[in-house]
C-alpha cells in the first residue's frame, strides 16, 4: 500500500449504511410490541397466580425478579423467530448490506488501505502466527491483498512468549516474503489492556489506514469475506463498524463441540434476528469486525469510569462502549450475518468458560454507569441493559428460586381454579418460549438443509439438537450459581486479573480442579434438596430438575470437558468440521505439522524462548535489534549484572518473571548475557544451561523454524 495515503476525510453527515429511520422504527415497534406483549401476558398470569391471597412483600419480590427474566426470555424468543423469518422471506431484506454491492463491485480493485490487527497476550504463539498465515494466504488468493497490512500487537508479559512471538514473526515474514506487510509491535507497558493496545495502534499508525479489522488471537477470517467487508464499507460511507458473526471452530472437547454445533445451528437465525431489530445500532463484539478508523480515532477513545475497579476504572468490555460512541458520532454499527468466512475458537472446558464469563461479567456490570449517561442513542442504552441483564439475570433467577422456596414453605391456599389455570398457562407459555425457537430453527434446518444436504446428516443434526438441549439444561443451573456469584463479587469490589485464556486442552480432565470448583455447588444442591423435602414433596418435585443439575455438577463438568465428544458417531457435527474452509484447513495442516515435531526436554521447552534469546546468536540479534535503546533505564546496571549472573549460575527457574523481564528489556544486558553464557566455564553454569548448550544445536537446526510449519513453496531467501 502507499504509506503516504491519507484516509478519507471524516464524513459530516453519514447517510449510506445507516438504515432508513422509517424501517428501523417499524421493525423495533413490531419487535418490542411482541416482546412487551409476551412479558405483559406472562406477568399478568404470574400476578393471577400469586395474588390469590393478596400480594405481600414476598410475592412482590418474586414478581420483581420474574419480570426482567420474562422480558429476557421474550427477547430471545422473538429474536430467533424474526431471524428465521428473515432467512426465509421470499424477497431480499431491504437492509441487507450484501445487496449494496453490485456484481461488478465484487471484482473491482480495492483502493482503501486496511490494517488487520491482532492484539495478543501470552497466547499460543504457533496458533497465532499459523492463523495469521492462513488469513494472509487466503487474502493473497483474492488478488486484492496489496492494500492490506497485518499487525501483531503484543502485550505478552511472559518473557519466553515474547521471544517466541518475535521469532515466529520473523519466520513468517521470511516464508511469506512479507517483510513490510506483517508487522510486530510489543508494548513495554500494557496500559488499559486490549483496548489500550488497539488505541496505541491507532495513535501510531491509524492515519495510514482507512479501515482496521480487529482480530482475536483465535480468530480466523477468509480473504473473500475480508475483501467483501472492505467493499461494503467503501459503498456505505455511513458505516462506522461492521461486525461479522464469527462461527466457532476447532473444538475438541464435548463442551467445545456442543457449543460449536449449537452456534452453527441456532447462531445464524439469532444473528439475522439481531440484525432485524438492532438495525444501525448493533453491537461491536471486539473482534472479527471492520472499523472505519478516522471516526473511531476521533470519537471512540475510552475515558475511565468513576470509582475504582472492578466497578469503575478502566472499561473492560470496551467493545459495547466503542459501538455506542461510534453511533453517538452519527455512524452506523451494523451486524453482518455472514454464514461463512468468520471464525473463532471457544473455551475447551466448563472451568475455562467460567473464567471467561467472570471477566465478561465484570465488564458488563461496569456498564451500569453508562446506562444513564447523556446523549446515547436509546438503542445503545438498551444494548448496555441487555449486556448487564445477561449476567444479572442469573442472580435474578437465583433470587426467584429462593423466593419461590420461601413461598412454598408458607401455607399457600392457592386452590382457586383461576389460579391453577394461570399456573398451567404460565408453565406452558414458558416452556414454549424456551423450546419453541429451537424447534422452529431445527424444523427450518430439516426443510432447507442449510447446514447439511444429506438426509442422514439432517437426522443426526436433529438427534444432536436433542442432546445439546439436555447438556445445556444440565449446565444452566450451574452457570446460574456461578454467574450470580460473579455479579455479587463485582458488586462487592472483587476484581479479576488479566490472565491468558486457555484455548486448548492440554492432557486429560483435571478431576481435582473439577472437584474443588464444583464441590460447593453439589453441596448446595443437596442442602437445598433437604430443605425442599422438609417443605413439601410437591415443592421438591417442582424444584428437583434444578437440584439434580446442581448435585450432578461434578460429573457433568468432568464429562463435558473430556475428549469423548461424539464425533466418531457423527454427533454435533458442524459444517466447518464436515467441509473445512480453505483458510481453516490450511491452518490445521500447519498446526498438525508443528505438533508432530520432536519436543525438547520439558524443562527446556518451557523456557525455550528465553533459551533461544540467550544462546542463539541470531535470535539474540533479532531481539536486540527490535528493542528500542532506552535513554534511561529504570533499574541500575549493577542490578541487571547481578540478575544476569544469577541467571547463568542458577538457571531461569531461580529468577522471578519480573527479574527476567528487567533483563530482556535492556539491549546491553541481553548482548552481554549472550557472550557471558557462552564464555562461562562448565562448572559455573546452571545445569539448565549446561544441558541447553549441548542440546540446542541438535534440536534447532534452523533457529526460527521451531514454532512454525515449514511450507517449502512459501520459503524464500530474503536476499534473492
Amino acid at each position: 500500500m502507499n504509506p503516504n495515503e491519507t484516509p478519507a476525510p471524516a464524513i459530516p453527515h453519514p447517510a449510506q449504511g445507516l438504515p432508513p429511520l422509517r424501517i428501523s422504527r417499524t421493525r423495533r415497534a413490531t419487535f418490542f410490541t411482541l416482546v412487551g406483549l409476551g412479558t405483559v401476558v406472562g406477568t399478568w398470569l404470574m400476578v393471577v397466580y400469586l395474588g390469590e391471597g393478596g400480594l405481600g412483600p414476598l410475592e412482590l419480590a418474586l414478581l420483581a425478579t420474574f419480570i426482567p427474566l420474562y422480558y429476557q426470555l421474550n427477547v430471545g424468543f422473538w429474536t430467533a423467530l424474526a431471524g428465521v423469518w428473515l432467512m426465509n422471506r421470499p424477497s431480499p431484506d431491504t437492509l441487507d448490506l450484501w445487496q449494496t454491492l453490485s456484481p461488478e463491485d465484487h471484482h473491482a480493485p480495492i483502493e482503501a488501505s486496511t490494517a488487520i490487527i491482532m492484539p495478543i497476550y501470552n497466547e499460543d504463539v504457533t496458533r497465532v502466527f499459523e492463523g495469521l498465515r492462513a488469513i494472509y494466504l487466503s487474502l493473497q488468493q483474492t488478488g486484492q491483498d496489496e492494500q492490506f497490512d497485518f499487525f501483531v500487537l503484543s502485550d505478552s508479559d511472559d518473557p519466553s512468549k515474547w521471544i517466541e512471538e518475535e521469532v515466529a514473526w520473523l519466520e513468517l515474514c521470511r516464508q511469506l516474503k512479507a517483510f513490510g506487510r506483517i508487522f510486530y509491535r510489543k508494548r513495554r507497558k500494557p496500559i488499559n489492556r486490549k483496548s489500550g493496545n488497539v488505541s496505541d495502534f491507532c495513535r501510531r499508525w491509524g492515519k495510514r489506514y482507512r479501515y482496521t479489522v480487529v482480530l482475536d488471537a483465535d480468530s480466523l477470517m477468509s480473504g473473500r469475506l475480508l475483501t467483501t467487508m472492505v467493499r461494503i464499507m467503501e459503498k456505505n460511507s455511513g458505516l462506522g463498524i461492521l461486525q461479522t458473526f464469527p462461527r466457532q471452530i476447532a473444538a475438541e472437547t464435548l463442551l467445545g463441540r456442543v457449543m460449536q454445533f449449537a452456534q452453527a445451528l441456532y447462531g445464524p437465525p439469532f444473528a439475522y434476528g439481531l440484525d432485524y431489530w438492532q438495525c444501525g445500532e448493533a453491537n461491536f463484539w471486539g473482534h472479527n469486525a471492520i472499523i472505519r478508523l478516522a471516526p473511531f480515532i476521533e470519537n471512540c477513545a475510552l475515558p475511565p469510569l468513576p470509582g475504582k475497579e472492578p466497578f469503575g476504572g478502566h472499561i473492560l468490555s470496551h467493545d459495547f462502549v466503542e459501538a455506542a460512541l461510534m453511533r453517538k458520532a452519527g455512524y452506523a454499527v451494523r451486524l453482518l450475518p455472514s454464514l461463512r468466512g468468520s471464525y473463532e475458537e471457544g473455551p475447551p472446558t466448563l472451568i475455562d468458560m467460567l473464567k471467561r464469563d467472570r471477566r465478561w461479567c465484570q465488564g458488563n456490570m461496569q456498564h451500569i454507569w453508562l446506562l444513564f449517561a447523556k446523549k446515547w442513542h436509546p438503542m445503545s442504552r438498551l444494548n448496555f441493559l441487555h449486556g448487564i441483564l445477561s449476567y444479572a439475570s442469573s442472580l435474578l433467577w437465583l433470587l426467584f428460586l429462593v423466593f419461590s422456596t420461601a413461598l412454598a414453605a408458607l401455607p399457600s391456599g392457592r386452590e382457586l381454579e383461576r389460579t391453577q389455570t394461570a399456573e398451567q398457562l404460565l408453565l406452558g407459555l414458558t416452556i414454549a418460549l424456551i423450546f419453541l425457537p429451537k424447534t422452529v430453527i431445527l424444523l427450518d434446518e430439516q426443510l432447507t438443509g442449510r447446514m447439511f444436504k444429506p438426509l442422514k446428516q439432517r437426522f443426526l443434526t436433529s438427534f444432536s439438537s436433542v442432546l445439546d438441549t439436555i447438556i445445556f439444561t444440565l449446565m444452566a443451573p450451574v452457570l446460574m450459581i456461578f454467574h450470580a456469584r460473579f455479579v455479587v463479587y463485582t458488586l462487592l469490589g472483587k476484581g479479576v486479573n488479566w490472565v491468558a485464556q486457555r484455548r486448548k486442552m492440554s492432557g486429560g480432565v483435571d478431576w481435582v480442579e473439577v472437584f474443588f470448583t464444583f464441590g460447593p455447588i453439589s453441596l448446595l444442591g443437596i442442602i437445598w434438596g433437604v430443605v425442599g423435602w422438609f417443605i413439601s414433596t410437591n415443592f421438591l418435585l417442582w424444584i428437583s430438575p434444578i437440584l439434580i443439575c446442581l448435585v450432578l455438577s461434578i460429573p457433568m463438568a468432568g464429562i463435558v470437558s473430556g475428549s469423548h465428544s461424539g464425533r466418531r458417531l457423527g454427533l454435533f457435527l458442524s459444517p466447518e468440521e464436515d467441509e473445512p474452509p480453505t483458510v481453516l484447513s490450511t491452518m490445521e495442516q500447519n498446526l498438525t505439522e508443528v505438533n508432530d515435531r520432536l519436543q525438547l526436554q520439558p524443562e527446556l521447552e518451557k523456557y525455550f524462548g528465553l533459551l533461544q534469546v540467550c544462546l542463539d546468536p541470531y535470535v539474540n540479534g533479532l531481539h536486540v535489534s527490535l528493542l528500542r535503546k532506552r535513554k534511561n533505564i529504570q533499574v541500575s546496571r549493577d542490578y541487571l549484572d547481578t540478575l544476569a549472573d544469577r541467571l547463568v549460575r542458577e538457571g531461569p527457574q531461580a529468577l522471578k518473571p519480573q527479574e527476567i523481564k528487567a533483563m530482556i528489556y535492556d539491549t546491553d544486558t541481553m548482548t552481554h548475557l549472550h557472550y557471558r553464557l557462552w564464555s562461562a566455564a562448565d562448572k559455573d553454569l546452571a545445569p539448565f544451561w549446561f544441558l541447553a548448550i549441548r542440546q540446542y544445536n541438535v534440536a534447532a537446526t534452523n533457529p526460527f523454524a521451531h514454532l512454525l510449519a515449514q511450507r517449502k513453496g512459501e520459503t524464500v531467501r530474503l536476499s534473492a
Binding site: 495513535r203 536486540v624 564464555s679 534473492a720
Partner: protein, 192 residues
C-alpha cells in the same frame, strides 16, 4: 581455499581447560549454522590461537572466556566493516549484524567469508546491509483523546455513594450482612 594447519601450543592453561574452550567454541560456531565443518575448524583454531595469546597476558580468565571474548571481538570488527556507513550503536551493530548475516542466507552462501574482515564480498555486504529489519512501519501519529462521558445525575449520585463505600470495605460487607439478615428475619416471621 586455505589449507587447514593445526599449530596450537598454548603457553598457559591446562590441556583440560583448552579442551573445554575448544568444545565451547565448536558449539558456539555451530550455533551460527555454519554447516561447512572445515570453515568451522579454521575459525576455532584461529580463535583459540588468539585466545592463547590473551591467556598468556591475563591467566585470571579461563581459556573458554578468552576464546569467546576473541570470537566477539572478531565479530565486532567484521560487522563494523560491513555496517560502516549505517548509524548504529555497538550493541545494535552486533545484534543487527548477526541477524543480517542469517537473513541474507550467509551461513549457506558465504560461510568462507564469515568473520573474515579482510575479504568482504560486495554482494554479501550489500545483502547484509539490506537485511536490516524493523518490526513496524514509519509512524503517522494521530491524537486519540478520550472525551468525558456525561454520566447523568443518577450515575453522579451513585459515584459519590460508591466513593464513600469504596473507602470502607467493612461497610460494604456490613450492608450485605444486614440485607441477608433482614431477608432471613422476614422469612422467619412468615414461617411462625
Amino acid at each position: 581455499m586455505d589449507a587447514v594447519t593445526i599449530e596450537f601450543a598454548p603457553a598457559t592453561g591446562t590441556e583440560k581447560e583448552w579442551n573445554e574452550a575448544y568444545a565451547r567454541l565448536a558449539d558456539y560456531f555451530r550455533s551460527y549454522r555454519l554447516h561447512n565443518r572445515i570453515r568451522r575448524t579454521q575459525l576455532i583454531l584461529t580463535t583459540l590461537g588468539l585466545a592463547s595469546e590473551e591467556h598468556a597476558k591475563d591467566p585470571s580468565k579461563s581459556p573458554t572466556q578468552h576464546a569467546i571474548n576473541q570470537a566477539r571481538r572478531m565479530m565486532k570488527e567484521w560487522l563494523e566493516e560491513i555496517y560502516v556507513d549505517i548509524p548504529m550503536t555497538d550493541t545494535q551493530i552486533e545484534g543487527t549484524g548477526r541477524l543480517g548475516f542469517f537473513l541474507s542466507g550467509g551461513p549457506d552462501r558465504w560461510p568462507h567469508f564469515f568473520l573474515d574482515k579482510e575479504t568482504l564480498p560486495h554482494d554479501m555486504a550489500e545483502a547484509m546491509r539490506n537485511s536490516v529489519r524493523e518490526s513496524g512501519p514509519g509512524l503517522q501519529v494521530s491524537k486519540m483523546t478520550p472525551r468525558d462521558i456525561d454520566l447523568g445525575l443518577i450515575s453522579n449520585v451513585a459515584e459519590e455513594g460508591l466513593d464513600r463505600f469504596g473507602r470502607h470495605p467493612v461497610v460494604r460487607y456490613s450492608v450485605l450482612i444486614v440485607l441477608i439478615g433482614v431477608v432471613l428475619g422476614y422469612l422467619y416471621t412468615l414461617l411462625q
